[in-house]
């Protein structure tokens, strides 16, 4: 211990004597380690971003929509994409006749081959909020076929990862009364942008002392009645405030709401809306969280489906609107390779549950197309367009292959980055060796003195190793600091994603220690094995 301490003191003293040399060597080490850390962070970040994009682009996403209003078309040549089963309708189907009677004969040609229950009008005719009608009265009738128990059954299919059932509609959301929320800076364009609404003269009441409005800021947006699994499916979501609603709230159909970041901005400006109360259909909802985009390539904009939107437990929507059916069920598979098989299983399951005989068409639509997902599922439009435009037979490429290809590309990049970093570490290490060799020669006499007063060869070895390690560790620590700063600056400036794991920091630190030992060992050994008398005789 005392020898260690003395060695340290000596080591520091020796390093301080050759300040410039030490500084230059440590700079080499610092740059090496910083490069390693930054490269690992960038490489892993790129890998993570790519797989996140594949997932958020919906490569493993399947959407089951109620109703089947696809026009009959030729079966696509490739089996990877499962077309919804289509069967010619039975002649003399009474609903069909009724429908054609209502719509007129000229529609007959088009309707002729569509199942009566697939009427697109029926599917999308959701009850108006104020009407509070039940399914049948709202015209959903037998066409809205998906139920929560369908979703529960789908959840049991082996390769399925998450299932979320949804009801979607447009709704007006009303912020808290301005008088109640005087602390919240009202966004000036929050009212002006709500172009669908007559701008209320009382709409804006701010600190200037205008009379309090009976209404809060209103916004017309997309309402999603969703399942708790939704954030797991939409992996690119982050929560700047609060959280998503939880299972208990969904089970008890509580009136809780999660705001998209655009809605939150319109209603509350930059303030934290969590805990505030908003109104939909004149019903109070408690805000529990705000959703924003966690991906730099997907920026929230007014009018988009994810962030200019509000999320309420599907059970709450069903209770308030007296609904029992769903618009759609969203499913993710555990791996992109399972999509085709899971689509098949879902189709079979639902046909069986809905008691659809072999000759009848599906009363639902299962979609999982890569093209559709790429075009709408989270990639920037120009990126999606480029991919779709350049890959002519996109449908022929299995999702599995696409994912693997992208993954391999990013692995290659990581390997490249790490080899660059390794070279810079090697250079840093040789620098340390050089300084240590010089130091050993310069201090031969000192080594002789230490040996004369009783230092063993091991003592000398450990002191010089300690010096080399000290240099590389200090250099390494500075490198870690530099690497962290560089990585953060890089993300800030060019918006590359990084992944700064503690593991990467630890690895960089371990590498710098290892370089110190590896390149310090030879000079230290030279110092230790010299005969004491030769060291003492040495004239510098």
């Amino acid at each position: 211990m005392k020898i260690l301490k003395r060695s340290l003191v000596q080591a520091i003293g020796a390093l301080r004597k050759n300040k410039l040399q030490t500084a230059l060597t440590m700079t080499g080490m610092t740059i090496g380690v910083a490069t390693v850390l930054t490269m690992i962070a960038l490489g892993r970040g790129a890998q993570g971003a790519i797989s996140d994009q594949i997932r958020s682009a919906g490569m493993n996403l399947i959407v089951v929509t109620a109703g089947n209003y696809q026009a009959p078309r030729e079966r696509p040549p490739d089996d990877a994409i499962e077309p919804s089963a289509w069967h010619p309708p039975r002649q003399g189907w009474d609903r069909s006749l009724l429908r054609s009677a209502v719509l007129g004969d000229h529609e007959q040609g088009r309707l002729f081959r569509i199942h009566a229950e697939d009427d697109p009008m029926a599917v999308h005719d959701h009850p108006l909020a104020s009407q509070r009608l039940g399914d049948s009265e709202a015209g959903l009738g037998a066409a809205a076929t998906l139920t929560l128990s369908d979703a529960a059954e789908i959840r049991r299919i082996p390769a399925v990862q998450y299932v979320s059932s949804g009801v979607h509609m447009n709704a007006h959301i009303e912020g808290p009364h301005v008088a109640d929320a005087s602390a919240i800076p009202a966004s000036p364009h929050g009212v002006a942008d709500a172009s669908g609404l007559p701008a209320s003269p009382h709409g804006v009441a701010d600190a200037s002392g205008l009379p309090a409005s009976p209404h809060g800021v209103r916004w017309f947006t997309r309402l999603h009645g969703d399942d708790v699994a939704q954030p797991l499916i939409r992996r690119a979501w982050v929560f700047p405030h609060g959280r998503y609603f939880n299972e208990r709230e969904e089970r008890d159909s509580e009136q809780v709401i999660v705001l998209g970041s655009v809605v939150s901005e319109k209603l509350f400006g930059s303030a934290n809306p969590v805990g505030q109360t908003v109104k939909i259909w004149h019903q109070p909802f408690k805000v529990v969280g705000v959703i924003a985009s966690g991906s730099w390539i997907l920026q929230p904009e007014a009018g988009d489906d994810q962030f200019d939107a509000i999320y309420v437990p599907v059970t709450t929507v069903q209770r308030l609107l007296n609904l029992s059916k769903l618009n759609d069920i969203t499913i993710t598979t555990k791996s992109t390779g399972d999509v085709t098989q899971v689509v098949r299983s879902i189709t079979n399951l639902l046909r069986q549950r809905h008691r659809i005989s072999a000759r009848m068409p599906d009363d639902f639509t299962v979609s999982s197309q890569a093209r559709k997902a790429l075009a709408s599922g989270g990639l920037r439009p120009e990126v999606a367009a480029a991919v779709v435009g350049n890959v002519s037979g996109l449908e022929k490429v299995t999702l599995d292959q696409l994912g693997k290809t992208l993954d391999r590309a990013s692995q290659t990049m990581t390997a490249l980055l790490i080899s660059i970093a390794a070279v810079s570490l090697l250079v840093g290490g040789i620098g340390i060796m050089n300084v240590m060799m010089l130091s050993v020669t310069e201090r031969t006499r000192e080594i002789g003195i230490l040996r004369a007063v009783g230092a063993t060869a091991t003592d000398v070895l450990s002191q010089f190793l300690l010096e080399a390690m000290g240099m590389s560790l200090v250099g390494g620590l500075l490198g870690i600091a530099l690497g962290l700063v560089t990585s953060l600056v890089v993300t800030q400036l060019v918006h590359w994603s990084i992944d700064l794991s503690p593991l990467a920091v630890f690895v960089s630190f371990a590498i710098s220690a290892a370089v110190g030992i590896f390149f310090g060992y030879y000079p230290a050994r030279q110092a230790a094995k010299a005969l004491p008398i030769e060291s003492l005789r040495f004239e510098s």
Binding site: R451, T456, D459, I533
Partner: protein, 242 residues
């Protein structure tokens, strides 16, 4: 008087290129506790080689060397390091102090490598202070070698040599870098330590007037002892005589 050093038929040959230099040729020598032996001879006579072997800095080519009855020529490097640490104190011509290190820390140095006695930092410091006091350097503990005169540096080296209470003190041309007045002061110190502590001292020099401070003079020439006798005309310093 017990025998501290017993050298029997020790030879040492250095090979330099194609020439072999017989630095020591079958030298035998006994030194007893409390002796102050001066080894004199011209340069190249083998006296420095003898000192290196006595100080366990080098191994004899042949023959045996018993230090306090222990055959040190057969010890491992670690064991020899321990012997140097515990039993031998060195004083060199060039002082050989660690620069960038205070006088006090230089004196403490041997204790740091002493694996047998576990002293606390405070105890080590107290011991070093005492040693510096003995050599008359109280108040200079914090000075670095380059802030001390040659004589003072040599006293620091002597204090360091005393730290582990060695069996012998080996001084290799201790006055070689000092002026005559300072040389006298250093020799005074040696005589005092020899007398007061019964410290065995082996002094190596090529100056006969320095050798005259010893109680016994061994003369070397061409790797052999040519004369070994008690110093009848011993020089005694004023203080040393008291």
């Amino acid at each position: 008087m017990s025998v501290v050093i017993s050298v029997r038929n020790v030879s040492k040959t250095y090979v330099m290129g194609e020439q072999s230099v017989h630095a020591l040729q079958s030298v035998s020598l006994d030194i007893h506790r409390g002796e102050f032996v001066s080894v004199v001879g011209p340069s190249g006579s083998g006296k420095s080689t003898l000192m290196h072997i006595l100080g366990c800095l080098d191994r004899p080519g042949s023959g045996t060397y018993l230090l306090e009855g222990q055959d040190v020529s057969r010890l491992s490097d670690d064991e020899i390091s321990r012997v140097r640490n515990r039993k031998i104190g060195f004083v060199f011509q060039g002082f050989n102090l660690l620069s960038r290190t205070s006088a006090l820390e230089n004196v403490e140095l041997p204790l740091l490598y002493d694996r047998e006695t576990t002293l606390t930092a405070a105890e080590r410091k107290r011991g070093a202070m005492e040693a510096l006091h003995t050599v008359g350097l109280q108040g200079r503990e914090r000075h670095h070698p380059n802030q001390l005169s040659g004589g003072q540096q040599q006293r620091v080296a002597i204090a360091r040599a005393l730290m582990t209470r060695p069996a012998i003190l080996l001084a290799d041309e201790p006055t070689g870098n000092l002026d005559s007045q300072t040389s006298i002061e250093v020799m005074e110190l040696f005589q005092r330590l020899n007398r007061e502590r019964n410290l065995t001292i082996v002094l190596i020099t090529h100056e006969h007037d320095v050798a005259a401070y010893g109680s016994r003079i061994v003369v070397f020439k061409d790797g052999k002892i040519t004369s070994d006798e008690v110093n009848a005309k011993r020089r005694v310093t004023v203080k040393g005589a008291v």
